[in-house]
Symmetry: C2
Subunit: 92 residues, 2 copies
DNA sequence: AGCGTCCAATGCTGTTTCGGTATGGTGTAC
DNA sequence: GTACACCATACCGAAACAGCATTGGACGCT
């Protein structure tokens, strides 16, 4: 599992469409599709239901989405905190 | 930034020694050393002070360590939650 | 001072991973 | 039935990665 896969998952969950999510991530559809498949494989469960109109979250996907968002937010916070501390240290 | 890099960082922070951390992660020293350098490069700050006896956390590293642990814990929680939900769905 | 030791960093190479292009396969709408 | 949307797969070239070997620096011992 990688942060890239998690980002891909969130994008697909929000767009409910792999192609659109791919454009949003500046990627093409096939790798993004593979990210989702790899995640599902690693977790041992389908996260999305494939419908003719796109991707629809399954219960396991809903559960994962909450954690995924928290993970990405925490990463973001980590980066900002480190930069803050570094800047403060620079002054001292 | 990748989860692998974050795991590497935590291991080095805890072992205060790249070689030992590498063994713990079933890796060799050079890639692990590069993980830390890559992280520091990406964050724009040194996270460790290099001493003759090993690695010592700098303030920015201390700050990052807290977030790093939370990220890894959250990933772990995500996996378990998804598996739980999937198992419950299986029954239903 | 010189040597052995322990440390992290770097040069290099073989392998693996990864993204993009092209294509397949399926379902819907008209 | 033809056209059009969707996701999945095959294939290939390029980038990323781990491991081996080595370097460079700091310490301790004699």
């Amino acid at each position: 599992m990688s942060l890239t896969h998690i980002q891909s998952f969130v994008a697909v969950a929000e767009e409910r469409n792999v192609g659109r999510a791919a454009r949003r991530l500046h990627l093409t559809q096939p790798p993004l599709s593979r990210h989702i498949l790899a995640l599902e494989d690693e977790l041992g469960t389908r996260l999305f239901e494939r419908t003719p109109s796109g991707m629809r979250l399954l219960p396991a996907g809903e559960a994962f989405l909450q954690h995924a968002r928290r993970i990405l937010a925490e990463v973001d916070a980590a980066v900002h905190t480190v930069r803050d501390v570094a800047a403060r240290e620079q002054d001292a």
